[in-house]
Amino acid sequence: MPDTPSLELQLPKDHLANFFPLFQEGVEVEVEVGHTVRQMLMEQFNISRDYQANRITTIFLNHKAVDDAAAALIEDGATLALSGAMPGLVGATMRSGGHLAAMRDGMTYRNPEQAPATGRGRIRLKLFNLLLPELAPRILLHGILLEPQRLRSLFAEQPESFHTGGRLPTADKRLWENEHLELRVLFGDRNP
């Protein structure tokens, strides 16, 4: 992301949850596109195949339920949402490759006829429920792209203790005037 201004923060671990609302609404990330969901998660975010199989049990690509993460291809501009196993009939219905997949046949993800191009691209990534504490740290380490206003709002909503871990460099105009900024956050108990 050569033209995108970037900001790196180091925060105590107990501030991780403050970022969860962002992930529920979705954050943009730059990744290699044109690959399968499974491959992308493994190669870009180092999320193991086992973890994917056991924990990421509900996946949506462009609002459609994915049954096979090893087949669904990610294209530039896609929205990818990851969730743990869900309760309820409909929760079970949404499960990847689940027994009840037929019940939502009309909203099951199918690859486009023409395979998407490979290369760098941006996708919108959402994390839900159990995956928030487990995956948000590595996504934040990878870096997320945010509209500056969203970052300002996030900081504005936090208690004072949060700011002691990472004050926003408000004077850096370049950071705030761009369409997006890249935010990387390292979680640890050491102050920056």
């Binding site: 743990g84 309760p87 079970a92 046949d105």
Partner: protein
């Protein structure tokens, strides 16, 4: 649980209590007991609020034991909302206490002539029916406070609020939770109005001196229960997701799936969904000193519930369920959890089904009585219901009637019961269940997901077009079976994925009763219950024409998938072919 107590509220000279052996209902519980009794004893053509209707209250097969998750209470009657047979169940302490007292069912029948209001006190030694007009028009929270002053905290209470007394079709029966709050409701179908029609305001269940029910084979029961609990604890849904976030964990997922009915089913995505999510709710509850993990009755190991405090840290209500958050939230265009929690409290206090009321408020918004998204407007409308004004009585009659009164064309009801929180256009399979269940639109009717283990109807090929019909049928059978054991339906997730947990569940039943039930027997029980319910509805005048979704679901596509409901009538009519 070897007795049934029958209370004729309309007997000459005042209510008459009689006792009878459990007889043909021995070894059954919950929905099996309520539906089989209603089907056998109630004239399907009766007026639901008349003296011919009965209200049957039944604990589950393992209620009152040390078995985990066994505390669901079923209530059955002919529904004043739908005109069909109805079983509505709730958690809370009532099932455990009633079972320990020893009753397989309480049957309320008849109807007193005068205006007196009654309370029923059930103890191991006696059942008393007393006039108590001081309880008139009390809502559930003050009512329970008043009763606690007299009967204390070591009992369980069932009650109706002002909505049930006013015979509103959306009224519920409340059961108190372990903290003695009236937060657990047999909500659907207007069961509160049936209790109100019999002039019964409260039932006090006191099991003083009674111990837990003893299994026939204590060692085997203890072992099976241990394996069952281990299974629940290790499964990601029952051991992690539900305890951490409750059922409202579904908001984000349904919204992402485009199946979250928004502003009266006009879109499948709500832009404010993340603000209403289970994740946000749990964070808010913890921050305000409430609880994100809490059981609705003792013996629940999943603990999908919670405690919601207001901004000042004071108790407001229990953690609202997903369907409640949706009905008062996205369906009404409201994205504020404090508003949703307040409406949930008001529903519980007045004694109303949160789904029916939320959907009704959305219909009222559609009619122009308030704007979508207007939190104050929603609260104002619900206050009308609490006051019993003419507008409030209309709203308290549910979405179908409110739609008719205000000329709203598109009202999401099946058999006059509001469709809950899952749009049937992108998720067609649930539409099949909404259309064909014996209960009116009901998401729990096909909730149990153990069909692949139960093998009800044989193996289903999910890729075949008829898969959705088959699945809906099998789900309805499996649900009827689990409802009949009185276990919380949320055990179904662990059962789905873990055969040893399913086996432990069957082993618990067998060790307790000294029986040799198999999975097939459980399936047969589910079919028997559904057949009885279906037969009741047929005799009440329902035909296949009633097993349909409202027409607009077939004609109006919904974003983002732009789908309509496409199941043919023939396919829907095939659900009950077994």
């Amino acid at each position: 649980m070897d007795k049934i107590v029958r209370i004729d509220m309309g007997a000459e000279g005042g209510p008459k209590v009689s006792f009878e052996p459990v007889g043909e209902y021995a070894g059954l519980g919950g929905r099996a007991v309520t539906s089989l009794i209603i089907s056998k004893e109630v004239n399907p053509l009766c007026h639901p609020l008349g003296d011919e209707n009965k209200l049957v209250i039944a604990p589950g097969m393992l209620s009152g034991t040390s078995g985990a998750m066994s505390g669901r209470l079923s209530v059955g009657c002919k529904s004043p909302l739908t005109g069909t047979i109805k079983e509505s169940n709730a958690g809370g302490q009532a099932a455990q206490v009633l079972a320990r007292i020893g009753y397989a069912a309480i049957i309320l029948e008849g109807k007193p002539k005068g205006d007196d209001l009654y309370k029923i006190i059930v103890t191991p030694d006696d059942v008393k029916v007393e006039i108590d007009n001081s309880l008139k028009m009390l809502n559930n929270y003050p009512l329970i406070e008043k009763l606690r002053a007299q009967y204390g905290d070591k009992v369980a209470y069932m009650s109706i609020g002002s909505a049930g007394e006013r015979l509103m079709l959306a009224s519920s029966i409340a059961c108190t939770d372990p903290e003695l709050r009236p937060t657990r409701h047999c909500g659907r179908g207007g069961v509160g109005a049936v209790m109100g029609s019999k002039r019964v305001k409260a039932i006090i269940l006191d099991d003083a001196g009674r111990k837990q029910r003893a299994p026939k084979n204590p060692d085997a029961f203890r072992d099976a229960n241990r394996i069952f609990v281990e299974g629940l604890r290790k499964h990601p849904v029952t051991g992690e997701g539900l305890p951490a976030y409750g059922t409202n964990v579904l908001t984000n997922v349904l919204n992402e799936a485009g199946g979250y009915p928004t502003r009266n089913f006009t879109s499948g995505v709500f832009e404010g969904g993340a603000k209403l999510s289970g994740e946000s709710l749990a964070e808010m509850e913890t921050r305000r000193g409430g609880k994100a993990t809490h059981g609705c009755h003792r013996g629940c190991v999943i603990q999908c519930s919670g405690i919601f405090n207001d901004k000042d840290g004071n108790y407001l209500t229990k953690q609202p369920e997903y369907e409640t958050v949706w009905a008062h939230g996205g369906h009404c265009g409201i994205d504020d959890l404090d508003t949703v929690a307040k409406l949930d409290y008001m529903d519980d206090n007045f004694g109303l089904d949160t789904i029916e009321m939320g959907v009704t408020i959305g219909i009222a918004m559609q009619a122009g009585l308030a704007e979508f998204g207007d939190s104050e407007g929603a609260i104002r409308l619900l206050e009308e219901v609490g006051k019993g004004t003419p507008l409030g009585r209309t709203l308290g009659s549910g979405a179908g009637i409110t739609g008719k009164v205000f000329g709203v064309e598109k009202v999401p009801v099946v058999k006059n019961q509001a469709i809950p929180a899952y749009d049937p256009r992108p998720i067609q399979g649930i539409g099949v269940t909404y259309a064909t269940t014996t209960m009116g639109a009901d998401h729990t009717a096909g909730y149990a997901i153990a069909t692949n283990i139960l093998k009800v109807g044989g193996d289903v090929d999910p890729l075949k077009t008829e898969g959705q019909i088959e699945l809906s049928r099998n789900l309805q059978i499996a649900t009827a079976a689990i409802d009949s054991t009185g276990m919380c339906l949320f055990i179904a997730f662990a059962i789905l994925d873990q055969p040893e947990t399913f086996q432990a569940y069957i082993d618990m039943l067998n060790a307790f009763y000294g029986t040799e039930l198999t999975a097939d027997d459980v399936v047969e029980l589910g079919k028997k219950v559904l057949t009885a319910e279906r037969d009741f509805n047929k005799r009440a005048g329902f035909t296949s024409a009633d097993d349909r979704l409202p027409r607009y679901f077939y004609t109006d596509p919904i974003a983002p998938h732009n789908q309509t409901f496409s199941m043919s009538d023939e396919e829907l009519d095939g659900v009950y072919n077994w």
